[in-house]
């Protein structure tokens, strides 16, 4: 009889952690876009808090992804998709990390407080959001087309009896 694998296996921590940066960084970008026009400080500071949390979570997702890679790669029919997913994810993490550095300079260094710097920050975050979306799409391809990290139950479902 086939045995049901443990749920808390290494490759499962990646899908568990990956949705946090997707939400946090996309909403942070939205807040920063609004802050360009809005005079309310909430958009500016709220965007910063989301960006900080998003950058922390994106590096956690990169780490858990690297852990999953060693297990999942051996089972994929097209690991080149995984490579592309990894490369783009690392690029995305660096883009948002740079955005965070610029945002913190805007907050704490007087001479950086210029509209042009805020616009560059938003453009950088929009670029990061585009690559983040592509990373998510590639991740979904890995799961839904190649069953990456997914346990495929036996035909008679005997492991659930």
């Amino acid at each position: 009889m086939t045995e049901l694998p443990d749920f808390w296996r290494t490759e499962v921590f990646h899908p568990l952690s990956v949705h946090f940066p997707i939400v946090l960084l996309l909403v942070a970008t939205l807040f920063k876009i609004i802050s360009i026009w809005s005079k309310k400080a909430m958009w500016e500071s709220g965007g910063r808090v989301l960006l900080i949390l998003g950058v922390i979570s994106v590096w956690i997702a990169v780490y858990t992804g690297d852990q999953a890679d060693g297990i999942v790669s051996r089972q994929l029919c097209d690991p080149t998709v995984l490579k592309e997913h990894e490369n783009l994810a690392t690029t995305t993490a660096y883009i948002f990390t740079m955005a965070l550095v610029i945002d913190l300079l805007l907050k704490f260094v007087e001479s950086f407080r210029k509209k042009s710097v805020s616009i560059v920050l938003v453009l950088l975050m929009i670029a990061g959001s585009i690559t983040l979306t592509l990373v998510g799409h590639l991740g979904a391809e890995l799961v839904y087309q190649q069953a990456a990290g997914v346990n495929v139950p036996s035909e008679d479902c005997s492991e659930f009896n």
Binding site: C77, T80, T91
Partner: protein, 104 residues
């Protein structure tokens, strides 16, 4: 000063955008000679640059044989820059190493 820092950050971002990651190639089943570009012991994985300038990403399987001078070798003997001969089997776009011979 402020402009220099700002330009530096933007330049670094653009540089990182293009520099992140490495691309790998898919080749037909067969035997290839090349040099080890990178060894990842935790994943029992190696990257091999072939003589025709392709980069192969190879995850060792339970059936992969590793030899040196005709005798079995341990994965820890693999080092960056070593000349190797690899026999790979292409399954879909995945390259499974059947054998890896350390040439030096």
């Amino acid at each position: 000063m402020r402009n220099s820092i700002f330009k530096g950050l933007i330049f670094s971002t653009i540089l990182l955008f293009f520099a992140c990651g490495e691309s790998t190639d898919v080749v037909e089943s067969g035997t290839y000679q090349g040099t080890i570009k990178e060894v990842e012991p935790a994943k029992t994985e190696i990257y091999v640059n072939t003589d025709d300038d392709k980069t192969l990403e190879l995850y060792f399987t339970d059936s992969t044989t590793l030899t040196r001078n005709g005798s079995n070798a341990d994965f820890s003997e693999l080092k960056e820059g070593q000349k190797v001969e690899v026999e790979v089997e292409k399954n879909g776009k995945r390259l499974d190493p059947i054998s890896v011979k350390i040439m030096e």
